[in-house]
């Protein structure tokens, strides 16, 4: 009895610290403290759970914790900052997998539950499985293991019938007294397949929203498992994450002007782009020296970083260039689109890593009015977020998405690896405009050249 009271009191404290930690994480000043508090709470929760009465298989448990925790700790420690989005995706998938695993054991044990518990058990199993397989696909796409957005014929019908079938089989199992092994296996295979078909057609700029949505899904699954296991700490932590994840997903979807249902049911693919009207004109190149002098003898330069900068790991070089220009009296600021990179805030994290102070980094709303006054808009590996067709071309799949108005600057310099279209597969009308010049090459090398040229101008 006393040990039960002790465990429950600890779980209560843990849930409270999680909420406070999450609250602290939403302000830059307290964010780091927030995650450290939550970390202590997590360790406390794990240790306390070992004192649960009637616990078997503790040896196996310790082994699983050491292995799983160790592998993840190590991989999280060594991963490059630019690869963070896919790591978040894969860890999230593992949480979903754990929730599905809990459901699987409950089903195999054949414990009798009341209807509400059974329903939540099945729902949690489906959502957890979807989060698991969906996150694995998201990871594979971001890691470059599978490149194309694959669209099955009759995609939406497949999604619909597969969901229906999964729920049907799930509820049959949930309400039956002794589900057979075959039924349980079929149910989980269906749920995993559902996650795959939901995420597989989604590509490009929509990926951040999907990761956030899957994160919210895992939260919900964990909350439902908390109900099945009678553990309020799990319910509170899971549902808090589920709700905040849904809000975060909405914020991101809103920033892209793409309702969540469009992201899931009519993803942007190259095929859609082909219908989006032809772009006229040619792309013109310029040399690193020309780029250097345009910026060095200008008053104001706005840098627009994108995923290309992240891939090239060029953030340090870019900041070195910005400092060099500032020494020459040029004002340099950074403009960040809400969905630049593969996750919102991705660019902010990279620029912070390079040491760029916050007061030089501006959001879309703050900076868009300044472009006409800028001598140069330097676009580094960004594409769709500066594509003016989002403002002008009603037939374009990205029409209506707020963009950075780089095309309104006096000069636009685009640093780009090759001539291909953006991640969404849509041609960028900006590149063909008269005030736009291209600098081809990896951002790391190109910015290095520009720095060298700026230095020759100083001499």
């Amino acid at each position: 009895m006393t040990s039960n009271w002790f465990i429950n009191a600890s779980y209560f404290a843990v849930a409270l610290v999680f909420i406070l930690g999450l609250k602290a994480m939403s302000s830059p000043v307290t964010a780091r403290k927030g995650v450290i508090w939550a970390g202590f709470a997590m360790v406390a929760a794990t240790v306390v759970t070992f004192f649960m009465p009637g616990l078997h298989n503790t040896g196996l448990m310790v082994l699983a914790i050491v292995l799983g925790g160790g592998v993840a700790w190590w991989s999280g420690k060594v991963v490059k900052m630019t690869d963070m989005p896919q790591m978040v995706a894969i860890y999230n998938g593992m949480g979903g997998g754990a929730a599905a695993g809990i459901a699987a054991v409950e089903l195999v044990r054949g414990v009798q539950h009341d209807p509400m518990t059974s329903t939540l058990l099945v729902l949690g199993a489906i959502i957890g499985s979807v989060a698991f397989s969906g996150s694995c696909i998201a990871f594979a796409k971001l890691q470059g293991l599978m490149d194309k957005a694959i669209r099955l014929p009759q995609q939406n019908n497949i999604n619909f019938f597969l969901s229906l079938l999964t729920f049907g089989v799930g509820l049959t199992i949930g309400y039956s007294d002794a589900p057979s092994m075959f039924e349980i296996t079929l149910f989980f295979l269906l749920a995993l397949a559902l996650g795959v078909v939901l995420v597989i057609p989604i590509g490009g700029a929509d990926m951040p929203v999907v990761i956030s949505l899957l994160n919210a899904f895992t939260g919900l699954a964990v909350g439902f498992k908390g109900f099945v296991l009678g553990n309020p700490a799990l319910i509170v932590a899971g549902i808090v994450v589920g709700a905040s994840g849904m809000l975060l997903t909405q914020l991101m979807a809103k920033a892209m002007n793409r309702p969540i249902k469009n992201i899931i049911f009519s993803p942007i693919t190259g095929e859609a782009a082909a219908e989006g009207g032809e772009v006229q004109g040619t792309m013109r190149e310029l040399s690193a020296l020309d780029a250097a002098s345009l910026m060095r003898y200008g008053q104001k330069v706005i840098v627009i970083p994108g995923y290309g900068m992240a891939v090239a790991g060029a953030q340090h070089k870019v900041w070195e260039m910005a400092q060099l220009l500032e020494e020459g009296g040029v004002e340099v600021v950074f403009a960040i689109h809400p969905v630049a990179g593969r996750m919102p805030g991705h660019m902010n994290v990279l620029l912070a890593e390079a040491g760029v102070p916050y007061d030089k980094i501006f959001d879309l709303e703050e900076i868009n009015a300044d472009f006409p006054q800028a001598d140069v808009a330097l676009v580094i590996g960004a594409n769709d977020v500066v594509n003016p067709v989002a403002r002008t071309d009603k037939s374009s799949p990205i029409y209506g998405m707020p963009i950075l108005n780089a095309d309104m600057a006096q000069n636009v310099i685009v640093v780009k690896r090759g001539r291909g279209a953006g991640y969404s597969g849509i041609e960028n009308a900006l590149f063909y405009k008269d005030n736009c010049r291209m600098l081809y090459g990896s951002a790391q090398a190109v910015i290095g050249d520009v720095i060298a040229q700026i230095k020759t101008l100083e001499a």
């Binding site: 843990v14 999450l22 302000s27 830059p28 964010a31 780091r32 927030g34 995650v35 939550a38 970390g39 929760a45 794990t46 759970t49 009637g54 078997h56 298989n57 503790t58 196996l60 448990m61 914790i65 292995l67 799983g68 925790g69 993840a72 999280g76 978040v88 860890y91 999230n92 593992m94 949480g95 695993g101 809990i102 699987a104 054991v105 195999v108 044990r109 956030s212 994160n215 939260g219 964990v222 909350g223 296991l229 553990n231 700490a233 319910i235 509170v236 932590a237 899971g238 808090v240 994450v241 905040s244 809000l247 809400p338 805030g345 902010n348 994290v349 890593e353 040491g355 102070p357 959001d363």
Partner: protein, 101 residues
């Protein structure tokens, strides 16, 4: 647990989650997503309870339970280290010092 008690907890927790992050600045979106990813790693304790109550005679239950604990622990540990590394870059001190090269 009583069904309605659980519904009340669901409702209040949902509003809490919504409120807690409603004023987050864009620069913290990624770390916050990562942080909430870490917090649902608490599924670990659920997985531990499940493995702990699995039938020691049934290898299938043990296997699935083991995998669940493994995945839960990975979610918690990986989620923590990644979030901590990201937020480590937001030290308030480097606001004016500029280029750390």
């Amino acid at each position: 647990m009583d069904g309605f008690t659980a519904l009340y907890i669901f409702m209040l927790a949902a509003f809490t989650g919504y409120e807690v992050i409603s004023r987050v600045p864009v620069i913290l979106h990624t770390p916050l997503m990562s942080g909430s990813n870490f917090i649902h790693g608490v599924v670990l304790i659920g997985a531990m309870a499940t493995l702990g109550h699995a039938d020691p005679e049934d290898p299938l239950q043990l296997l699935i339970g083991f995998v669940a604990v493994f995945l839960g622990a990975a979610n918690a540990a990986g989620g923590y280290i990644v979030t901590e590394r990201m937020l480590g870059m937001f030290k308030t001190g480097n606001r004016k010092e500029g280029g750390a090269q």
